[in-house]
């Protein structure tokens, strides 16, 4: 993506300005909430993309990192009164370490095997957290209602600070992804995705770079987890460690276009509002119609536009096998 056209820069600036003034104009808190979710899932999608779309490791276990981030910062806050911002960084580091620890033995796994291993990983972590009395086990952790403020990473009277913080996080992750994609590391990732053997021949340390991809991905996902905890003020394994969250992250990236920086963002912009609004409009009847539509759309997109919406934009053409 070296040559960014003027058109793209312009549309980027316009989008940025629109996002920034959105909550000042639209006071509807539900709409703000949907945007916050969009940022959060967008960030997780970008994080996933780094290890999945670029390095070829299709992880269905991202929720484990999300949960580790949320739990680490919350636990430190509740038990040791550690400032959540510090907890954020610690959570990211813990997630990165855990990711590396699991990623290392899985270095030879590819494709479906890796995917299932990541599911297994996610479930093992969830089961463990469900039974770990130290961090509340199934009861979860309730964050204390501290006085509002940036320092406490907690706001009660308005969603706006949450909105801008999450947006900033998303921008950070996009920046990281962009830097990676245009750097040598990005090149290595792509080579690894194509073929381990070819990469090795090219002198790339496959194992090491896979771990790097996992660690970056884990750190960013954990940041989103800490944000969630500070936003909802209550976490339990059922809400921050469930498999469907991992699946949603993959779907977002795939829909938008895996392997491209902006792909997951586009995917999130489409899928998150759909899932939220269909639930609001149709969910209360209890008939599952909202999920029906959701499932149908995912199937449709996989079939007709598997390169994602971004693929449409970039006009990459269809890959013929």
């Amino acid at each position: 993506m070296r040559n960014i056209s003027l058109k793209q820069i312009l549309s980027g600036v316009i989008a940025f300005v629109l996002v920034m003034i959105f909550p000042l104009v639209i006071k509807n808190t539900f709409a703000q909430h949907v945007m916050i979710l969009f940022f959060m899932f967008g960030m997780m999608g970008v994080a996933w993309n780094i290890m999945g779309g670029y390095a070829g490791m299709f992880s269905f276990g991202q929720v484990a990192f999300f949960g580790i981030g949320a739990y680490t910062s919350s636990f430190l806050l509740i038990t040791y009164h550690v400032n959540p911002w510090i907890g954020l960084v610690v959570g990211g580091l813990v997630a990165a370490l855990v990711g590396a620890a699991i990623g290392y033995p899985c270095s030879n796994l590819r494709g479906h095997y890796f995917a299932i291993a990541s599911i297994a990983f996610g479930e093992i972590v969830r089961t463990h957290f469900n039974n770990w009395k130290l961090i509340g086990a199934a009861e979860g952790l309730s964050l204390p209602m501290l006085s509002e403020g940036f320092k406490n990473f907690m706001f009660h009277s308005s969603k706006l600070p949450y909105y801008y913080i999450m947006f900033a996080f998303l921008l950070i992750s996009l920046l990281v992804c962009y830097l990676i994609s245009t750097s040598k590391m990005g090149y290595y990732f792509r080579a690894i995705k194509e073929s381990h053997d070819v990469a090795k021949v090219l002198g790339i340390n496959v194992v090491w770079y896979r771990l790097v991809a996992i660690m970056i991905s884990a750190f960013l996902t954990a940041m989103a987890g800490t944000f969630y905890a500070q936003y909802v003020l209550y976490i339990d394994p059922e809400s921050v460690m469930l498999l469907p969250i991992s699946v949603q992250v993959v779907l977002i990236s795939m829909l938008g276009g895996a392997g491209s920086v902006m792909g997951p963002v586009i995917g999130a912009v489409i899928l998150i509002p759909i899932s939220e609004f269909t639930r609001v409009w149709l969910g209360h009847k209890g008939t599952g119609v909202d999920m029906l539509i959701y499932g149908f759309l995912i199937t449709l997109i996989s079939v007709y536009q598997p390169k994602g919406v971004w693929g449409l934009f970039m006009n990459l053409g269809k890959r013929t096998k």
Partner: protein, 286 residues
């Protein structure tokens, strides 16, 4: 203590046979088309509901509903292949992974829409009750399901080895291009295999409905375990799936009993991870 051990062993086998039956269909699809069918658990659910409705509306015992489940699920499988899966066969792997997720969400919520999320149970199946052999209690429905599983697996195994279509399937599994060159209509084989995979898990559903509760999301846990079983056994290998199913059943029950029932699924996943680290292609995979 030892009677408990024997009891748990027996129970582990009984549930293992069920896992094996569920996994066989999945491994077939996986082996032939390299598609992980995330909707597999939902096919199981459809099989269970088919038995339930035949029982409730026509009084047909679940065991007798097996031919219907087989036929219905076969057709559903073929249709889904034709209209959905075949279109992503030439697309990126991610699309293949995700499309069956979409189908899964669609089917399970269609079930919610049509039949409500309530739990159903077949209250008086023909074969129910418990055999008591010494100190061990054998649930009759589970035992019948296990015997059924063995029979069906044997049938599939022989079918693949002896029947013309079966051999074509095996050939496609091993080397798609070569099979194509040898005149095998791989598209037809794909279609047939998908249908067969669905039919097999439909049979499992009929058996399962004799002792487990039925509801739209029932495919969830069973499906997840089935993936571990298949990957453990080695994708594409029927014998592998069968053995792995039993191993997983035993691991779950014995692990839960000796260690902590809360961790029993974690133990299954751990075993999967460890096996795959040591031997990435699974026990009997190639």
């Amino acid at each position: 203590m030892s009677e408990q051990l024997l009891q748990q062993l027996v129970n582990g086998l009984l549930i293992g046979f069920m896992y094996a039956l569920i996994a066989i269909g999945l491994t077939l699809i996986w082996g032939v088309m390299n598609i992980v069918n995330f909707a597999h658990g939902d096919f199981l659910m459809l099989g269970m509901f088919t038995s339930f409705w035949l029982y409730t509306l026509y009084g047909l015992d679940p065991i007798l509903s097996i031919p219907f489940c087989t036929a219905l699920l076969f057709v559903i499988g073929v249709l889904i292949y034709r209209f959905v899966v075949s279109k992503v066969m030439s697309g990126p792997m991610l699309a293949q992974l995700v499309v069956t997720f979409g189908v899964s969400i669609f089917i399970s919520n269609l079930a919610v829409y049509l039949w409500t999320p309530d739990f159903r149970l077949i209250s008086k199946p023909l074969l129910s009750g418990t055999w008591v052999i010494g100190e061990v209690q054998l649930s009759i429905p589970k035992t019948v399901a296990s015997i059924g599983s063995v029979i069906v697996s044997l049938f599939v195994f022989l079918f693949l080895k002896k029947a013309k279509t079966g051999k074509a399937i095996l050939a496609t599994e091993m080397d798609r291009e070569a099979a194509l060159l040898m005149g095998v209509n791989t598209e037809r084989i794909n279609s047939f295999s998908f249908g067969m995979g669905a039919a097999l898990v439909g049979i499992a559903g009929a058996f399962l409905s004799t002792y487990y509760y039925i509801y739209p999301q029932v495919g969830g846990t069973f499906g997840l375990i089935a993936f571990c079983v298949v990957a453990l056994g080695g994708f594409g290998s029927i014998e592998g799936a069968f053995i792995a199913g039993i191993l997983v059943g035993l691991a779950q029950t014995l692990g839960g009993f000796f260690f902590d029932p809360a961790y029993k699924y974690a133990i299954v996943f751990m075993i999967y991870l460890i096996t795959v680290w040591i031997r990435p292609q699974g026990l009997l995979g190639w």
